[in-house]
Symmetry: C2
Subunit: 193 residues, 2 copies
C-alpha cells in the first residue's frame, strides 16, 4: 500500500493534480509531460492520478462533458413558451455558473491548448458535440429545423466569443456579463446594425 | 515512360481520379482505400494521382482552401459601407457559385466524411480556419471585435446549415436559395421570433 494507501483520503487531490498538470503543461508543453511527473509534482502517486483522470488529456477536458450536459439540460428545462434563442440563453446562464472563480484556470487552459494542434482538434470536437447536444435539446423542446441548429450555432458562437473575451481580460471575474453583452452584440450584428 | 508518359495530357484526369476515389471510399471506406487502387480504377497511374493530389485525403479537402480564399476575398471586396453581416453575405454568395453543378459530389463527400472520425476532425479544422479567415477579412475592412468574430461565426453557421439542407434534398440544384433562406432564418432566430 505504502504512501498512497496511508493517504487514501486526499484533501483536494483533484485540485492538486490539476494544478500540477497545468504548471507542467505550461512549463514544458503538453506532449513532454508524463502522468508520473504530474503525480510527483502534486505529491501524489500515479494510482491516485488515475482515480481522477483517464489520461493526461482528461485533465484539460474532463469539464467539457459537464458543460455539455449542463447547457443542454438548462435548454431542455426552459419554459416551452420560450423562443429558441431564449432557451439557449438559459443554457448559457447555467454554464456561466460553472466557471465561477475559474477565470485563471480557464485562461491557462486556453494557453496550453492554443500551442498544441492535437488539443485544438479535441477542443473543436468538444464544441461540435456541444452544438449537437444543444440542437437536440431544442428539438426535444419542439423546435423544428433549421431553427434548432441555427439557435444552437448562435448559442455556441456566443459562448465561444464571450469566453475568449473573458479570459483575455483581468478585471471582471464573472463570465455572465460577457455572455450577456456578446448575445446583445450577436443580435445587433445579425440584424445588420 | 510507358502508358503514363504517352498519356501525359489526360482529359479531365482530375475528375476521373475524384470519381474513382469517391466510389472506392463509399464502397470500402476511406481507410481501406489506397492511392494505387484509386489510380487503377481511374485507368491512370499513381504518378498521375500525385500530380493532382498530395495524398488520398486531399481528394476530399482540396476544395476547402479555395472555398476559404473565395469567401474571405469576397468579404474583403464588399463596399466599406456594408454592414458586417452584409459583407459576410457577399462572401456566401461567392462561395455558392463554387458548388454550381456539384450537389451530388457534395452529398457523397458528406457521406464519406460522416462515417470517419479522422475526416470529421479534418472538416472541423477546415471550418474553424474558414471562420478565422472571414473574421480577419472583416477586421481588415475596419470591423472591430467582437463584431468581426460574431459576423464570421454567423456566416459560417449559415453556410454549414444551408449546405446540409441542400445536400439532404434532391429537387433544387442550386445552393444559393438555401443560403438566402438560412440567413433569413438565422436573423429571425436571433431576433427571438
Amino acid at each position: 500500500m505504502g504512501y498512497d494507501g496511508l493517504m487514501r483520503w486526499q484533501p483536494d487531490a483533484r485540485g492538486r493534480l490539476e494544478e500540477a498538470a497545468f504548471a507542467l503543461y505550461s512549463e514544458r508543453g503538453f506532449d513532454q509531460t508524463t502522468v508520473a511527473e504530474i503525480a510527483d509534482r502534486a505529491g501524489l502517486t500515479e494510482r491516485t492520478f488515475f482515480r481522477y483522470f483517464a489520461d493526461k488529456r482528461e485533465v484539460l477536458f474532463s469539464g467539457s462533458d459537464l458543460l455539455k450536459t449542463g447547457f443542454a439540460d438548462a435548454v431542455a428545462q426552459a419554459p416551452s413558451s420560450a423562443a429558441p434563442i431564449d432557451a439557449v440563453f438559459a443554457g448559457l446562464q447555467a454554464v456561466a455558473g460553472f466557471f465561477e472563480g475559474r477565470r485563471e484556470f480557464a485562461r491557462r487552459r486556453r494557453g496550453i491548448i492554443a500551442v498544441n494542434p492535437e488539443l485544438q482538434e479535441r477542443e473543436l470536437i468538444k464544441m461540435a458535440s456541444l452544438k449537437d447536444a444543444v440542437a437536440a435539446a431544442l428539438r426535444q423542446h419542439g423546435v423544428t429545423e433549421p431553427a434548432a441548429s441555427l439557435a444552437a450555432e448562435a448559442g455556441v458562437a456566443v459562448f465561444h466569443v464571450a469566453f475568449e473575451r473573458w479570459t483575455d481580460q483581468a478585471d471582471e471575474e464573472k463570465l455572465l456579463p460577457f455572455i450577456r453583452e456578446t448575445m446583445t452584440q450577436l443580435k445587433a450584428v445579425t440584424a445588420g446594425a
